[in-house]
């Protein structure tokens, strides 16, 4: 039981050979308004649902190797690695909770957001038909499942964030955010008398520790945290979630925040919660924190908790229309 499972995934060539895109497919960037993202977005979902980003795999393996061989924490992390290999090989969902689907689209002037929304919705609907995604969109009060992953009235699921930018290429990032991890996210308002947390970095630290302790294993630890300091209730949450897209192991551009993240990660891993809350030294895989501006009266700390199965990826359509996928 205590052998170290090596996470050998299928090669980039094999992944490409299973692609939905015809060989040599390119987007026609000379006609941005007429662009069709459906197929390349489906391909993005095929990859994100079945294959974890390499930085996440590396962090899980590093965590496993630091646990005592044969311990429950070690075995659990080993099972996670086994699961990663299987899902990749079978092109099947890593987890049955394929999450809420959240897109971030960055595009040049001339691109149609209305058309892209339709195409991304079509991509999600088709990925659901192919059993790559579970139908995860239900009417709140009745619990009735739309069956298609579509929110038929207000178009809030899948969630799509658009931004026009000053670049010639298009980027589509996606996150599959599981419900269990979403439930253990938390937003604090400082000062917090119960935690004894003031409006300073020490107070922020207390909020994060508190959120991780309250989460225990219920968000499928080891977790990945996106933390925004400031903003309002909505912008803070949005930013916190987007921070989960940052690759593990990449330094925060703000050296002070980088040091804060590293120290906090070390400290959180002394809590003893461990993988799935079984106990152990791997409670979080990383923290991405960012300071925002805020209203003088408000001080929010928003903590997005992502499960170990952090399914995210980015499709880039280069200026010449060449697609590439980064997971």
């Amino acid at each position: 039981m205590s052998e170290c499972v090596v996470p050998t995934l299928t090669s980039a060539e094999v992944v490409a050979s299973k692609s939905l895109l015809p060989q040599g497919w390119k987007a026609d960037m000379s006609n941005l308004a007429g662009l069709d993202l459906t197929l390349c977005a489906m391909e993005l979902l095929r990859r994100t649902t079945s294959r974890l980003p390499q930085d996440v795999i590396d962090a899980l393996v590093q965590g496993r190797d630091a646990e005592e061989p044969g311990s429950r924490a070690f075995n659990t992390l080993n099972d996670m690695v086994r699961n990663i290999i299987l899902a990749d090989g079978n092109v099947s969902p890593l987890c049955q909770d394929t999450g809420s689907i959240i897109f971030w689209v960055r595009h040049p002037f001339g691109f149609s957001q209305r058309a892209a929304r339709k195409q991304l919705r079509a991509a999600v609907m088709d990925a659901t038909k192919r059993s790559w995604l579970r139908p995860n969109c239900v009417e709140s009060l009745s619990g009735k499942n739309s069956g298609t992953n579509m929110d038929p009235f207000h178009e809030h699921h899948p969630a799509i964030h658009f931004e026009e930018w000053d670049q010639p290429h298009i980027e589509v990032s996606v996150m599959q955010k599981g419900g269990g991890s979403e439930n253990v996210g938390a937003q604090y308002r400082l000062p917090d008398a119960i935690l004894g947390a003031g409006r300073d970095i020490k107070g922020v630290r207390k909020c994060i520790i508190d959120a991780v302790v309250k989460a225990q294993g219920q968000g499928c630890s080891p977790g990945i945290l996106g933390v925004s300091i400031g903003g309002d209730r909505v912008t803070g949450w949005e930013r916190a979630k987007e921070l989960v897209l940052r690759k593990l192991g990449t330094a925060n551009p703000d050296p002070k925040m980088d040091a804060f993240e590293k120290e906090l990660t070390r400290d959180l891993n002394t809590l003893g919660i461990g993988p799935m809350g079984y106990g152990g030294a791997t409670t979080v895989l990383g923290v991405s924190a960012e300071e925002m501006y805020r209203h003088p009266a408000s001080f929010y700390v928003s903590i997005a908790y992502m499960c170990w199965s952090s399914r995210r990826g980015t499709l880039t359509l280069a200026a010449d229309g060449q697609p590439s996928y980064d997971l």
Binding site: D79, S92, D97, R134, G274, M276, Y278, G279
Partner: protein
């Protein structure tokens, strides 16, 4: 490693202790949020023969319907159990359920229910959807699929060597309570 096959006797369940590793075989019944609310509020009789001495699994699978009308489980890991805390003890008692599979553990009320009826909480690795789907031999039946939708329906599946750990036993033991207590103590020191 302990091999158990459903249906399970109370006697066999009472022997299990926190930390025991179990390989489960036989039929298990999937149920989560809608199913638990339904079971507690409506207590339908037709579920009694399906659940007596059986195991409930907190899971909303990804399924695929095959050309011949049968179903295949594509991904089938556990969902967070604590959401069923208001219902679980009643469900266990009403239907004489011997085990509950899930993730994250459950609270005091469920622990009391486990002790009273003679049942255990079995922990599966969260997120291991592909790995656990491989241990599903076949889909035996499904109830309330139309009404609840596929993630919430009562799927009845046959599993083979389904890997689990007892984290709450029928004697009041809970690994989750121990880890929570220790981590709270450590958090106090980190916040000081």
């Amino acid at each position: 490693m302990i091999r158990l096959t459903t249906p399970i006797t109370e006697e066999a369940i009472r022997q299990l202790k926190v930390g025991d590793e179990v390989l489960l075989n036989g039929n298990v019944v999937l149920s989560r949020d809608m199913g638990h609310k339904f079971m507690k509020e409506q207590k339908p009789d037709w579920l009694k023969p399906i659940l007596e001495n059986m195991v409930i699994y907190h899971c909303g699978p990804v399924v695929r319907k095959n050309a011949d009308g049968t179903w295949t489980f594509v991904a089938a890991g556990p969902t967070t159990s604590i959401r069923e805390e208001p219902y679980q003890a009643d469900v266990i008692e009403t239907y004489k359920v011997r085990g509950v599979i899930g993730k994250g553990g459950m609270g005091k009320k469920t622990s009391e229910g486990l002790q009273k009826t003679g049942a255990v909480y079995l922990h599966a690795t969260g997120g291991a959807g592909s790995l656990l789907a491989e241990r599903v031999k076949r889909v035996v039946d499904v109830k309330m699929l139309e009404e609840f939708g596929s993630p919430e329906a009562f799927w009845i599946i046959e599993v083979e060597d389904f890997p689990l750990v007892v984290t709450m036993d029928s004697h009041g033991g809970s690994l989750h309570e121990i880890v929570a207590q220790q981590s709270q103590d450590r958090a106090k020191a980190l916040m000081a």
